[in-house]
């Protein structure tokens, strides 16, 4: 019997689903035995006392789980990173945002949602165009903006394919209640999601991922792609996790399942 394309895909999908289930099962049993039944606080273990190429931080987001109308990740990010509100949608700063998408030209097409932030590309076009290396890729793959050095030319905003960047175009006053672990901002520089680098360096996962797990639907998983045993590596290996705009070749480190 000749397999046609559809059969082939179905079988492939079943196998993939099977392995995924198996691995999720083993992951659960692992945490259960390790932490006596409590859901483990996923520790982010970095190698050594500095950013190292032994780690490669990234994220896998399961869109099937991402809840409609849930904005736990966005709120957590704003709180953690003191992201201000300007009450002007054109100028507002967005480190993470919820995107709604549906099939084009299909009446009544189902609307779905996903969070999008900086994807921390392997080949970041923003860092390539930055004239002063204010935007750079750290050894562990996190793409950062050094606001001490940024000259505010905004070339990176032109070059970013994912619209991950915002320009601070208005004065922002520090206010009581700001998160004091994270600096506020001066106008005139570009900023973006940094995977909550201060949290990663102290062994915590990014604020959005934490709140997604605690308040949201657990759609976001953060981890180390260099660690083959990490949950994100497993998810990317065993499921159809995809990148956004792979054709551009920037190789984002944020993967989506269920697009």
């Amino acid at each position: 019997m000749a397999l046609d394309r559809r059969d082939f895909l179905t079988i492939g999908g079943l196998i993939a689903a099977g392995t995924a289930l198996g691995s999720v099962g083993s992951a659960f049993s692992h945490t259960a035995s390790g932490h006596e039944g409590h859901e483990a606080e996923p520790a982010v273990k970095r190698t050594g006392d500095r950013a190292s190429s032994k780690n490669k931080w990234g994220m896998v987001i399961d869109i099937e789980k991402c809840g409609e109308g849930c904005d736990a990740c966005v709120r957590a990010c704003r709180k953690e990173n003191n992201v201000p509100h300007f009450d002007d949608p054109k100028l507002d700063i967005h480190w993470i945002r919820k995107i709604t998408f549906k099939q084009k030209g299909v009446p009544g097409a189902e609307e779905r949602q996903m969070p999008a932030m900086c994807f921390h590309c392997e080949h970041p076009p923003c860092a390539h165009v930055c004239p002063v290396a204010a935007t750079f890729k750290r050894a562990d793959g996190i793409v950062l903006v050094d606001k001490h050095r940024c000259i505010g030319c905004r070339y990176c905003m032109i070059a970013c394919p994912y619209k991950a960047r915002s320009f601070v175009s208005m004065h922002v006053e520090p206010k009581p209640g700001d998160n004091r672990d994270v600096p506020v901002r001066m106008h005139g520089v570009v900023e973006k999601c940094n995977f909550c680098v201060h949290r990663i360096d102290s062994g915590e996962e990014p604020a959005c991922v934490e709140s997604c797990r605690k308040e949201g639907n657990g759609a976001m998983v953060f981890g180390d792609f260099n660690d083959r045993a990490s949950k994100v590596s497993e998810m990317v290996r065993t499921s159809r996790a995809r990148r956004i705009r792979p054709d551009l070749g920037c190789d984002p480190q944020v993967f989506y399942m269920g697009i």
């Binding site: 002007d88 054109k90 165009v129 002063v132 505010g152 030319c153 905003m157 175009s169 005139g188 697009i259």
Partner: protein, 401 residues
């Protein structure tokens, strides 16, 4: 070589000169004032947003760099290519080139969010960034332009020829680099094109020539010095040819882009249903900015009339300004595509056409830069012998014509 050309300073005692300098000075003063306001207030006072991060200042910058490169090539025509008919305004053209690059650098730097960090690019050279390369190239170019002017003043002909050659090479490099700022941006269909660097050079030459015609005409008219009309005819013809090259590049670029189905949306936005951008493109740029001036300049009857050629030059100057605008802005208006064939929306205006119209502050900013060039030019021709006492057409060329 042609007969020796004598340059003298202008007297600068006429009321016309005084009025010109007051107007130019007032405009020039707007430039630092608007920049300071922008620096202390932040970019929310302009129309530049997170959707359209580059606005009029960048349009002005590439326009001024273009005109500068064009002027410098014209200036070097006599010393490098031995064309005696360009000798009379060689100094004026080099002066314009220097002033225009200064204004262009002002346009770029004052638009930064942090212009106080002006020296940072020189301490952190990034060979992969076109901006970083250009920072070096522009500075070199400005310095070379000044030395080249100096060599001309001191009648060091060998040095002048050598520097002129370097200046032409650098002008081409500088403006290719400027085109590459946009051409290398592979994520936006309306930017990404290997044709942008050469197309920028063509537009630089045409706009530089147009600016030269205008400067020559008014300088000689207001100083009461004699300008042989054949200079204007000759430059007009040159401009006409350059405009044809610009038309060719724009045609090829758009046809190539429109061919690929993945670019249908981007190409049709610019060419068919982009609202004001489509109107600017067809009526403003193609018709009034390119085709009409080319016809005027190359037509036998109008090409021999100073008035017609002047009109064509003004049209061409405005046309190239519009061309720069249409390079910088529409690519940012088009939404970035996340998924092919999917509609997306978000609180960050994803998937929507952005809006941009030049704000008052950006107009003031741009006028200020024009003022800087005008004021600098007026001052320089008063301080140094830039303008020839008489611009005769070299006789030995007449026999061949």
């Amino acid at each position: 070589m042609a007969t020796k050309i004598k340059h003298t300073r202008i007297e600068g005692k006429s009321s016309a000169y005084l009025v010109f300098m007051i107007v130019a000075g007032a405009l020039a003063a707007l430039s630092p004032l608007s920049a300071l306001y922008l620096f202390f207030e932040g970019h929310h006072v302009t129309s530049m947003t997170n959707q359209v991060p580059w606005g009029m200042p960048i349009v002005m910058a590439i326009y001024l760099i273009g005109a500068s490169a064009g002027s410098l090539v014209l200036s070097a025509m006599s010393s490098v290519f031995g064309r005696a008919e360009y000798k009379p305004f060689s100094r004026m053209a080099a002066l314009l080139a220097v002033l225009l690059i200064v204004a262009a650098l002002m346009a770029i730097i004052m638009d930064w969010g942090r212009p106080d960090r002006i020296l940072v690019p020189f301490f952190h050279f990034q060979p992969r960034s076109m901006f970083s390369l250009n920072a070096i190239l522009y500075s070199l170019y400005m310095a070379l332009g000044i030395v080249y002017l100096w060599a001309m003043f001191h009648n060091k002909e060998k040095l002048e020829r050598l520097l002129g050659l370097c200046a032409v090479a650098l002008a081409i490099l500088v403006h290719s680099g400027t085109g590459a700022i946009f051409g290398f941006v592979y994520v936006r269909e309306l930017y990404n094109s290997p044709l942008l660097p050469p197309s920028f050079i063509a537009a630089a030459l045409s706009s530089g020539t147009a600016l030269m015609i205008i400067t020559l005409h008014y300088t000689f008219r207001f100083t009461g010095r004699k300008l042989d009309e054949r200079h204007v005819h000759n430059l007009g013809k040159l401009m006409g040819v350059f405009i044809l090259v610009v038309i060719y590049f724009i045609f090829i670029e758009n046809v190539t882009r429109s061919y690929a189905p993945k670019n249908y949306e981007a190409a049709s936005f610019l060419l068919l249903h982009g609202g004001k951008y489509t109107a600017y493109f067809w009526i403003g740029l193609v018709l009034m900015g390119l085709v009409v001036p080319a016809i005027i300049a190359l037509n036998g009857a109008t090409g021999k009339s100073v008035r017609w050629i002047l009109a064509a030059s003004w049209l061409q100057l405005a046309g190239v300004m519009l061309e720069r605008y249409l390079i910088v802005i529409p690519a940012q208006i088009l939404p970035l595509e996340f998924f092919p064939n999917k509609e997306i929306t978000s609180g960050f205006l994803d998937g929507q056409f952005a809006e941009y119209s030049v704000s008052l502050l950006e107009w003031i900013y741009s006028l200020g830069l024009a003022g800087v060039v005008m004021f600098g030019y007026g001052l320089a021709i008063r301080l140094w012998p830039m303008v020839p006492t008489e611009a005769a057409y070299p006789e030995q060329l007449l026999k061949t014509n």
